[in-house]
Every structure is written in C-alpha cells, then in structure tokens.
Symmetry: C2
Subunit: 335 residues, 2 copies
Amino acid sequence: MKIVAVSLSDIAERAGVSVKTVSGALHGGSARMSDDTRQKIKAIAEEFGYVTNLAARGVRQGWLPLVGVVSDGLITSPFATEIVRGLDGAARSAGMAVFAVNHRSGQSIGSVLDEVQQFRPRAVAYAAMYHKHVALSDRLAGAVGVMINCREAAGRVTALVPDEEGGAREIVHYLLIAGRRRIAFINLPGILAGTLREVGFRAALEEGGIDPVGVFPAVRRSVYSDRAPSLVASHVEALLKSGQRPDAILCGNDRVAMEVYAALARAGLRIPDDIAVASFDNQVELASRLDPPLTTMALPHRAMGRLAMEILLAEQPEPPHLRKLPFHLVERASV
Amino acid sequence: MKIVAVSLSDIAERAGVSVKTVSGALHGGSARMSDDTRQKIKAIAEEFGYVTNLAARGVRQGWLPLVGVVSDGLITSPFATEIVRGLDGAARSAGMAVFAVNHRSGQSIGSVLDEVQQFRPRAVAYAAMYHKHVALSDRLAGAVGVMINCREAAGRVTALVPDEEGGAREIVHYLLIAGRRRIAFINLPGILAGTLREVGFRAALEEGGIDPVGVFPAVRRSVYSDRAPSLVASHVEALLKSGQRPDAILCGNDRVAMEVYAALARAGLRIPDDIAVASFDNQVELASRLDPPLTTMALPHRAMGRLAMEILLAEQPEPPHLRKLPFHLVERASV
DNA sequence: CACTATTGGGTAATCGATAACCCAAGGAGG
DNA sequence: CCTCCTTGGGTTATCGATTACCCAATAGTG
C-alpha cells in the first residue's frame, strides 16, 4: 500500500547528471542533449518505476491537467455516462483527465465549484441530467466554460443541448415514410425536452397536412417525477377505443414506450403490424430487450461531451452561444 | 474563463502579515494567533475569493486528497454509479475526492494505474462491472488497496464482493415462505455470479426438501454476451408445457425477468397469481416499471463502495481478506 | 526588579518539476 | 592561430503551501 515515490532527483543522482537534465530527457522532447544521455536516463527511470508527479508540475504551471465536470448528479444517470465518455475521449487525446464531481441536493453549485477549483483544473464544465435551464451567479458564469445538456439562464456561457425539436421532426418523418398517418404522442409533461419535442411533433405533422390523433401527458403534470403514477395505460386504452385508432404511437421516452408495449400486449395488438411504437432516449438496456426491439431517437450525449471538451480546450475561445446537436435514429423493429 | 488564482502571499501582502500567518489562519486550526488577526485574514481571503491550491499542498504532503478508482468501464454501468456513490460519500467525510478512471479495452491495467498515480492519490481501488476474478501483477497488487466487486486472483488484495450464494438462498426462502414449491431458475450462464447463485439456489431448496423444477441458462453458454440471442422465451414455454408447471420462476437478473414477463403475458398467465417471478440486480428503472413491479434482490453496490473507502483510508491496514456483503430484498409485487 | 513562560508572528528551508540563464569544450571560419 | 558559434549540461530561482526554528514583546512569578 505504501507507495515510495521516485523523484527526478533520485534518477539524477543515479545517473550522475542534474535534475534539469533528467527533466529534459523525460518530458522536454526538444531539450538539447546527447542521445546517449537521454537513453541512459530513460532506462534508469524505467528501472526505478518513475511516475511523473503532476502535483509538482501543477504548482509551477498553475493548473493540473484536469477538466472538472460539475453536475447535478451526473454519474447517477445511465445517459450521463455517455457524456462522460465523450468528454473523456477528447480529454485523453489532449493529455487531460476528467474529474467529475456531482453535487447533491442541499449543496450549492458554488460550493461544489470551489471544491473542484481547489485542484486547479484547466477548465470546468457544468452538465445536467436532463435538458433544462440553470441559473448561475456572475462568479459561476465566469468560471464555467461550457454547459452540457442545459442552458445558462442568461446565455453568458456556451451551451450544448439536444435539438429536441429537430429530433421530434425526424422521427415523425420516419413514421410518415413508413406509411403511418394516424399518429398519437404520449409525452413527458412539464419539462423542457417534452415541450420542445411537442413543438417539433406538431410542426412535422402540420407540414404533412395531417392532424395528430392525440397528444397526452404520461403522468399528471402536477405530480411529475420518476415515481409518479403513470397514466400511460389509460391513455392507450382510450386511444384504442376511440374512433380514430392510431397506427403509430410516439412516446416521450423509452420507459413510456415500455408501458405502451405492455398496454398494447394486453389489448392483443401486435407491434409493428397493428401499430407502430417509437420514442426518444435510446436507453439501450431497455430498448434492445423489448419485444420487438424499440425504434428510438438517441440523444447526442456523447457528441455533446466531445464537443464540450473541444470548446473547453480550444486555443481561441468562442463567444457564448447556444448549439443544438442532432439526435440520431436507432432503427430497430417497432416501426 | 481565465481564472486568476489568488495565493496566500496575495492575502499576506494585503493583510500586512507573513504568508505563514495566513496559512495558519486559514488552514492550521491550532496555530497560535490572535483572534483579531485570524478574523482579518479570513475576511480578506473571502473578499479575494481565495481557493486553496491543493496541488501546492500536495507537493509538500507527497499526495493529493484523492482516491483513485480504476475500473473496467465502471462509469458505464448503471450499477457502478452506486459503487461510486458509496465511495464518494465516505470520501467526502474524510475530505477526499474520488477520481475515477475507466480503462477501455486494449489498455492494460498497469498503464491506467500509472495514469492515476501521476496525480499521487492517497489510495487506489480497482472496481469491476460484474463479479469476477482479476489477475494483477505483483506491482499492481502492491499499488491497489482494495478490489470492489471482484477478487484478486492470488488473494493478495482485500476484496469486497456480493454474497451471491447467500443472496440466492434468501430469495428462495422468500419464495418458500410465500408458499411456492415448484421453483425454476433461468440463470446467467458462464459467469461467476450465476454459478454461485445456482449453488445457493440448489442448497436452499435441498434444505427445504424440495427439488428444483428446472435450471436453465438464459442464453447459450458458448455465445454469452449482452447481445446474445435469448433462450428465455423458449424455456418459459417449455416449462409451462411440462407436467410440473412451476409456480415461481427465479431469474438470473432483471433483464431476464423482463423477458419472462413478456413470455408469461403471451401465455396469458398473471403475475403473481398464477406464477411468481423474482430476480437479482434491482435495476430500478426497469424493475419498478414492470407490471407488476418486480421483486428482486439488490446488489450491495453502495455498501461495497462505502466499505472500500473505509478500508482504503483506515489508519491500521488489515491483512488481505475476502469479504462477502449481503444482498437485500426489494419487495415489490411479483411474488 | 530580574527571570522565565507564553503569546504572536517572522525567516528560511522544503516538496518536485520547470525555466531562465550561464558556462565550458570543441569545431568551423577567417 | 584566434574568435565565434553550437552542443551538452549545470546553477539557481520559482511556483504555493507548509513547517521547523527563531525572535520579540508581554505577562506572570519569586
């Protein structure tokens, strides 16, 4: 457990050269030095099991090769891991590590940010679990380089968000191309993503000259939460009984779709023959295991992460702006 | 975005005292100093927005207040977040931060470990996504303080794992108490957890003087992976047709249970009236959304995380040992 | 009143890596 | 043969925080 740290001076002593020469040999690629010396030093470093002390370098440099990610419970969510993957991939290419800190309820964003700042990261991002607006104080807005999956209320920070409206249009077009004409939408109420998707849904149908068969909330608006009792089953039953029985149901997310599947199974309807189902999120574990596997719009989580890192590490900072990233369609068998 | 770092000397200059006095006032709780001076310094620090530079302290101390967590894709898994939560909670109480680095396929554990060691963490844990054996070289075994959800092959490192056998016994007892007597097991083949659960399953039934109705793999052993075609539906159909129709099906995990639900629904059987279903994992998103909500054994992920941190930060290191942590039953409505 | 504790705070060294600057040896050019 | 430049590498200061050690002033004691 006890790790005896090897320092440059240990190597220097053994090699009979100065510390600076060792530093140059191991890290400074361009340092003037005979190949002989460089090889000898590298060999000794290897033998001693030398590992760079980034803390020491960090003192001098003024920052550690870290990018802080503050989030409202990020690593808890299955999607969020995709954001981190995106960040991580881009960070590694730049020799940076991602340092994720999630703040729990009751803790202010400011205090979490200070926690992160203690490590003197190169840059800091703020990520949200679901698409929303986040209010940041002046100090915070100045310290955060990019918002992921959320928008800074005053627009002072570049924000990367999913193109909810565009995603909704795309899936509707897909349903139309598949020949579906009587389309209902069982949506997530009261949240930004749901609102924007509904806009896209209605717009895409209108362009096609078609009226929606119905648009419903999956739960009562007043009690929306992950544990709220679902209204999905009753909506499906109502839809099936109505004169305008739909030939496709678009769902606010994959969990809603799962409930729709169950309700349709009870009614004895086959997917996709009798009725198509599509949704948003591409929660893989769920969507791919449903029978039939669910066609769903995947959120651009990884792309947001990758782009965020590029923005954070860019030489030339861009002025704050809002960037909407496209969903992509994951075709399975439910349409 | 440019963060101007305030240092102790900035504060010292403003306060007209030495750097050491500022350090003592802000960090050294016991430093001798008039209350007056201390208050003045704190006020200036606040005004300047001072944030401790942990890198600088780290150089002196020899380590940063970090605990590294190396894992085989940890943050990708929904369970894994629970491990991190457990680690994080315990770490915070000790003033430590968790620094998670997942290694992707193709990268050796050693190189990831070196990556982490560059930051001079106080301790390092290794965590696995699913219960398994992990072979570590001597060097690695010496550098890793605790294994989470996996066992070091040679037993040189303390390992925390779920008590698979005990968990299986517990859920079987629960089914027996519920009056079920004809119990089948559709298991995950070829993995350690599945093997151990099967041992517990058989033992618990034997103690009750009961024979299992059947034990089946959920997929073909030869092709086991997350995407392997499932055999679940056919097993269920076979079970239902057999003379010994089961009154309970235990499933290797919640995803298998989901498929069992679907197969039972097609057969027109009601859960739990006609047949009970139980499983392992407590994948909340899934288990709580099934109809009826699924009764399942929750893995002790958070407990493993918490305990791991306690072991890592303990003053007195314990000799390496294997510790099995209990599952806990999450009663919903499927039994 | 002289002497010793105690309090309040400064000085300087240190951690490991880096960077600005300096110096010596040897080869090229005049 | 002498000067200039290049090559190889050493010296020393620096980053920010901490700490061992020292000094001055005051308070308490015989």
